[in-house]
């Protein structure tokens, strides 16, 4: 692996690039320090040379994948990885981010969604082997994200924080800490989000996500559709607590995947400025 976690610079706060936001992002380029793109959207060379190249002129861009299914016990999909590598190289990405998740099983099943890994010793060994293999192939560190899940698979050997810590310890990979996912899991499971945060290696956090979810019949849903106010206000103290401890933090991205009807300011910019201030203050402190 040529690049490592210590070589990753600080980029600051940014926004996830979505088709619906492209025009507004171009208009507000001076407010947004970094963009995150969904890697699979740019698997085709024409997409890289079109939209991606045009944004890369004005923004630092970090690729984020959703379909690697790192928890799958089947061999890695090198056809997929080859395309991931092409995007990483196009962007000269200092790291590549994905999820602690199972999304598909070869060609037999593809849920199209992130589902939880069974936290057993056997699965831990599978994930560790995959992370090492991916990092070697991509020649850059992998940064893995904690997901939301409405349930845990029973009869596990580890709890999630210990599983995540072991993967980091054995592979040297980084973490993408989605604080909204931490909040949502804690809310739905009636647990303490700070307990989760205290049990993962925060010094491995390279990237963070924030997004606004919705309360539906008493269950908090990870909809990426709301501003970080109301019930979503809960993520701010989590960020204030975490930022000074996440000493390697490079990038924070606010995600918005639906409900694009409001003004850009209300949807994203107000939250972006607030996040930027918190992480900048933490770097100064």
């Amino acid at each position: 692996m040529k690049k490592n976690l210590d070589s990753i610079p600080f980029f600051g706060a940014g926004i996830g690039l979505r088709t619906e936001l492209e025009r507004q992002l171009r208009e507000h380029a001076e407010d947004v320090l970094v963009l995150e793109v969904i890697t699979e959207r740019f698997f085709e060379k024409s997409a890289r040379e079109g939209t991606l190249a045009s944004f890369a002129k004005d923004f630092r861009i970090i690729p984020h994948g959703v379909k690697l299914s790192i928890g799958s016990a089947l061999p890695l999909d090198y056809e997929h990885l080859e395309k991931v590598k092409a995007v990483c190289e196009f962007l000269d990405a200092p790291y590549y981010s994905e999820h602690f998740a199972l999304t598909r099983h070869g060609d037999e099943f593809d849920t199209g969604h992130l589902s939880p890994i069974w936290f057993t010793q056997e699965n831990l060994e599978v994930v560790i082997a995959h992370v090492k293999e991916i990092q070697d192939y991509l020649e850059r560190p992998l940064v893995l994200e904690n997901i939301t899940s409405s349930f845990e698979i029973p009869n596990a050997d580890y709890e999630e924080p210990e599983f995540i810590s072991a993967v980091c310890q054995e592979t040297g990979c980084g973490l993408l800490l989605d604080l909204t996912n931490v909040f949502i899991n804690a809310y739905n499971r009636k647990t303490d989000p700070y307990d989760f945060l205290q049990r993962i290696p925060l010094d491995r956090v390279i990237h963070m996500h924030l997004a606004g979810g919705k309360l539906h019949h008493g269950v908090m849903e990870d909809t990426h559709s709301e501003p970080l106010s109301g019930i979503n206000e809960e993520v701010w103290p989590l960020l204030e607590w975490t930022a000074p401890r996440a000493t390697r933090l490079s990038t924070l991205i606010i995600e918005r995947d639906s409900n694009f009807s409001g003004s850009f300011e209300d949807m994203l910019l107000t939250d972006l400025r607030r996040a930027q201030k918190i992480i900048e203050d933490s770097k100064k402190g």
């Binding site: 024409s46 016990a73 099983h105 199209g112």
Partner: protein, 161 residues
């Protein structure tokens, strides 16, 4: 090593309601599977109510993505679709097709078809991440167009209709 088979069955519980019901009622459904006792026990003690909610959220997410993308695809691709059907007039009789594909697969196959045939008019979205898309057939494509027009997904009536 039975972990891959375990994972396949686990994912099936998320997407196959009938299989999930069988599993919850009778663990004998796993009798012929090459699994360890630990894996077998885990599958039969899944929190099925919560898995059911997850299944519903998967469907909701797929449907949301489908609606979001289909509108954009349909609008952009109407001219292309029309020309496709004009070139295949034998595909329908009195507005009815043979080889019916249950809704909403008709639209999914259309999306896939558009994506494969006209990359430039499709949005660069994650269709394959969210949708199970079978290969396109002319019959299902036609039904997709007809359905889309009747339900307002295509705003403008394609010339063929």
């Amino acid at each position: 090593m039975s972990l891959p088979r375990f994972q396949a069955l686990l994912l099936r519980t998320y997407t196959d309601k009938d299989f999930r019901a069988q599993l919850a009622e009778n663990s004998a459904v796993l009798a012929d599977e090459d699994l360890t006792e630990h894996e077998r026990k885990t599958l039969t003690t899944l929190p099925f109510e919560k898995v059911e909610s997850f299944h519903n959220s998967l469907r909701g997410k797929r449907w949301g993505m489908f609606r979001k993308n289909s509108k954009r695809l349909m609008n952009a691709g109407t001219a292309f679709i029309s020309s496709f059907y004009i070139s295949s007039p034998a595909l329908f009789v009195d507005g009815e097709m043979t080889g019916a594909v249950p809704f909403p697969l008709e639209l999914l196959v259309l999306l896939k078809h558009l994506e494969s045939r006209e990359a430039l008019i499709t949005p660069k979205t994650l269709l394959e991440s969210y949708l199970d898309i079978p290969s396109a057939s002319p019959a299902s494509l036609f039904k997709a167009v007809l359905f889309s027009y009747r339900n307002g997904i295509i705003g403008k009536k394609p010339r063929i209709l």
